[in-house]
Every structure is written in C-alpha cells, then in structure tokens.
Amino acid sequence: MTGDRSINLGEAIREGLLQVSQKDNSIIHFAEGVDDPLSVFGTLKGFGEKIGHQRMIEMPVAENALTGVAIGAALSGKRPIISFQRVEFAMLALEQIANNAAKFSYVSNGQHNVPLVMRLIIGRGWGQGPEHSQSLECMFAQFPGLKVVMPSLPEDAKGMIIAAVTDNNPVLFIEHRWNHYAVGNVPKEYYSKDIAGPKKIRTGDAVTLVATSYMTLECLRVADALSSVGVSIDLFDLRVLRPLNLKPIVQSVKKTGKLLTVDTGYKKYGIGSEIVSSIVEIGFNFLKLAPIRMGLPDHPTPSSSSLIKNYYIDSIKILERLNTLVDLDRSVLEKVKIRIANERKDIPIDVPDPFFKGPF
C-alpha cells in the first residue's frame, strides 16, 4: 500500500536503510558514531535496537583501513554500508576505494564482487569553510567499477538507497546535507529505484537544464517561476553520475537546442564539463547556442559569510545565465526575478532555504 504521507529526504534514507537492513542479515553498518546519540544526522537512529547492535560496527577514526575492512567483509559475503559524516574524510580512504573496491570485479575476472555502499555527506553553510563543505563527486566518478549516485528528492532517495544496498557493486551514495530537509511524498513500503540515470522532473521545450543534488532544488524554483510566465523547460535531476546515461539529455537537446548544467561542485573539470563535452560530441548539430556550465568558482570555500556572498549559485544567478539562452522579454525577466526574490526573502546564504523543504 502506498503511504500517503510526506517525510524529508533524511527520514526517507533512514526508512530505506532500516527496511533493507531488516530484510537482509548480511547488511552491516560502519560509521564513526554509528550508534551514538546523533547516529549520522539521525539517519541510523535506533538501528541497534531494531537490527542488533552487533551489526552496528563502530569505526575507529581510521578511514582508510576501515574502508578496506568493509571491502574485505564484502568479499566474504557481507553487505557493508559505511557512512561518512563529511566527504572529506573519504579522501583518506581513496586508496582502498580506487584500488580495491573499484577494481575487484574487473581484476578478478568476475570472481569477486564488492557489494559495498559508502554514504558520503556533502554540504555547505554555517561557515564550515574549506574542508567541511566540498563536493568531490567528480573525483569518485572518474573510476570505472564504482557507481556514483546523488539523489535530490525524497522518493528517489529511499528507492535508490535500497537499490544501492542490494547492488552487487560498490556504490558511492552522495547526500547533500541541505537536501536532507527536502520533504516529499514517500511510499511507506519497501521499494527499489533503478540506478539507471537522469530523471526528468519538469518538461518543456525552451531549454534543457541539467542539475545535481541541491542545485536541483534551485533549478526547480527557476523552472516553476518560468512556468508562471508561460516558459517551460526540460529539467533533469542527473541522479546517477556513474554509469552516466546521457540518452534522455541528448533527446532533450535535440528538441531544445540549448543546454545549461548546474552542479554543486567546481565548474572546472566538473560534472558540467563531462556533460557538455559529451553532448557536443554526440549532438553538435542539435545545438543552436553554445552550452553553458555553472559550478563553483576556482578557489576553496571560505568560512566567512561575507566571503561566500558570491560563491554559491542560486536561482537568480541560474535564471540570468539561462536567460542568455532563452532571451526573455526584459519585463518578463524582471517579473520572474521578483517572484524568486519574494520566495527567497532575505534568508541568509549560509543556512538552508526553508522554501526547499518542499513538498516536492
């Protein structure tokens, strides 16, 4: 039965993790503070009582070895899930991720598989600064053998975390902390969503907009504001960075002739770079205008709320770049801007925008 209730993305992930953990005893959880009072932003709260404390493995502050331990356990029939409270800590485990998790199936000629999930939390805000607010998904997306998933909306998040856990490959599941607050209708029952590719969340023909993670929410605001003045766009939530499925995006660009990408990482060598170059290769003739990439500027994230004033991309900035592709009438553009500004009010840039709670 489909439950008719709204929960946020963090709760959706918790529900998915709990349901799948109750179904399969081979699932074990690792985290620094796996069973502590906060339990990874609440996403593992109460798991010890429900599935047994012996399946909640407290992880010494030793990210590389414990990732290796999880891989070794995965080779021996377990389905480990490691939750990293900040993606930056996973860089200490890059050797195990890139050399072992990503390569075992390949190097062993298919004898081994590594059914491992690594939850990597990214985010921003409250002055967290250079080493607590990075989006490093591109680095992981480089490695064949890994799957890299970034859900934006609650219903996807639950279905995709279940899919990640039941997948026989190492899956990096990247959660933006601010997306945790996004609310949406989420079925109560156990269900799995294929790790298949982008999802079109708004339909139109003016432009193709491709977004990831928190930027999907900013883009949704733009799409809905534009729709209020009769301009409709194709908006994709990319969702899966690897394996990258660009077919629906190519189809869309064939229709719109215009492409804008917006993601949470650096613009340079970023997701947008991969999408734009692939689309140019595959569909150069479909393009009416040069595609545009939006991403973070080429410097680390500063802490001070003053220094980040122009650092992050928001709906207004997206609208302005998008307008260079769709060329709205000046008065119409102003109208859309005012609508967005009214929604945004004067919320500071370093806390989550309550508008993005949805429901979506």
Partner: protein, 326 residues
Amino acid sequence: MATIMKLEYEKSIELYACMQRIRLVEEEISKRYVEQEMRCPVHLSIGQEAAAAGVCLALENRDKVFSTHRSHAHYLSKGGNLKKMLAEIYGKVTGCIGGRGGSMHIMDLDVNMVASIPIVGSCIPLAVGSALADSLDGQDNVSIAYLGDASVEEGVFYESANFAKLRDLPVLFVCENNLYSVYTHLHERQPDRPITSVAEAHGIPTFHCDGNNVEEVYRLAVNAIENARLKRGPSFLLLDTYRWLEHCGPNFDNHIGYRTEAEFRIWKNRDPVLLYQNNLLKRGIITEEDKVELKNKIQKEITVAFEFAKSSPYPEHSTARNHVYA
C-alpha cells in the same frame, strides 16, 4: 613461545617439497624472463620460500590468504595451481584471473588465495575485514595478511592492527622482513626498535624467528593460527629473511651498489631450501634418491606448466571491457 613439537614425517617432507617447488618455479621464471613473453613485472620469492611454506602449510584450504606484489610463493604454498599462475603471468585466458592482473594480482578462490595487492599495505585491512565477517558469522576460519617490512611504515597497518585487536579478530599478520624496500635498507626507513614493538603497542601478541628456518616458521604459525581459531585474537609474526634477486625482475643486482656482495653471501649461506634439505638428509627423513626424484618430479610439472601457459590462447581483446561491474 611455540609449543615444542616434533614435526610429523609427512609434514617435513611437505614443507621441503613446497619450498623446492617455489625455488625451481621462480628460477625457471627468472631464466625464461629474457624471452620477453612474460610481459609484466615479476617480483620473485627466491630466498623467501620458508616464510611462505611455513605459514601456508599450517593453514587449511578454508583459511584465507591476502598477499602482496611478491605473491608467487604464497600462492604455490596455499596449494595454488602452477599452470594457472604461469598462464596469468603470460597474460593468457587460462590464467587464474584470465590475464587481468598478471604477476602482481595472483588470486584464486579455489584455494582461498583471496587477493594479492601490489600497493604496500593495501591488502592488510582486507584480511582484517575477512576476519570480521568470519567473526560475525561464528566461523573459525583464519585470515592471513602477508606484509613486508615496509608495510609497517604505512598508516593503514596501524589502523588495521588497532581494529583487529579491538575486536580480537581471527587474523594473523605475517611480516616478511627482507631488509629492503626496493633499494632502501630498513635502517634508512625505520628507527632502531624491534618491528614487533609496533604490533605490541596495540596489545597484539608477537612472535619472531629466523624466517629461513621453515620448521621454526611452521611451529610459530601453528601456534598463532590455533590462537586465532580459538578466538583469542590476532597475532603478529616477524620472519627475518632475504630477497636474493632484484626487487622486481629476474636478475641478481648486488653490483649496482645498494647492498654488498658480502651481505648477500651471508644470507645465501642461510638458504632456506638447502638448509632444510640437508637437515632432512642428515636426519634420514629423505635420501639422496628422494631428493633427486622430487626435483625431477617438480621439473616435469614445471615443463608441462610452461608449455600449457605458452600454448594457451590470449584473451580476446574484445573482452577487455567485461566485468567492470558485477
């Protein structure tokens, strides 16, 4: 310390035969390497046979071995298939992993040689993870992490040792100290303290012996493995040994200047295979005829295995994309 025990006659012969097989295989690889048909780096185990045989012959098939770039001896000691190993080094489809890893990635689940990883220290946490899975499932299998002296310079060793002891996991860290990391002596890399002290600092029991004395290695291994099986936690075994050939490749390299001929000769006089052979001859456990017969038998196996490897087909290049994902 190890319990004093008299090795069974059969076990003695098994240890000797295993070491002799490793020696002769590695010598043949060394001899044929110049043909340039084995087109991958090889890190040969000549001089280190006792550390492999002494530990692996104390294991059962269900016990799991995780090895390094220098894995041939470990695989053969674990009961590995010589044909599959050579075919792997030759890059053939009949190799233990179909030519995907070459000499540095020898693995074969038939004998629970779970992985060989050529990045220093990288296999250590995998062995600990395998031990964690067995521990959670109540299995009494033992996992072996082979490591070299340089591995204890890696952070991942400390992280792994800490976790293994924290949970008293059934894992045995086997450190083959051959004194050199490529061309750099231990003294230039580590302070003057026993290597065992780094394991002891984690509360892990340590055992140390002449790694070229196969019976000593075997006795210590039996003891440590029994402890692990009885859920008494991990142990650390330090085995002093020496790599006769260059770090990577088929040649002697004493002339290039990082170590002396005199040092090499000291270790050559402690040849683990020859020492044990003489020991068994002296004790009358084998005769001169047995020795010759064994050697001939192994040589025959080697000849057949090389023929198999060389005559096996290469994998189709169109299969290079297979198995990226399970």
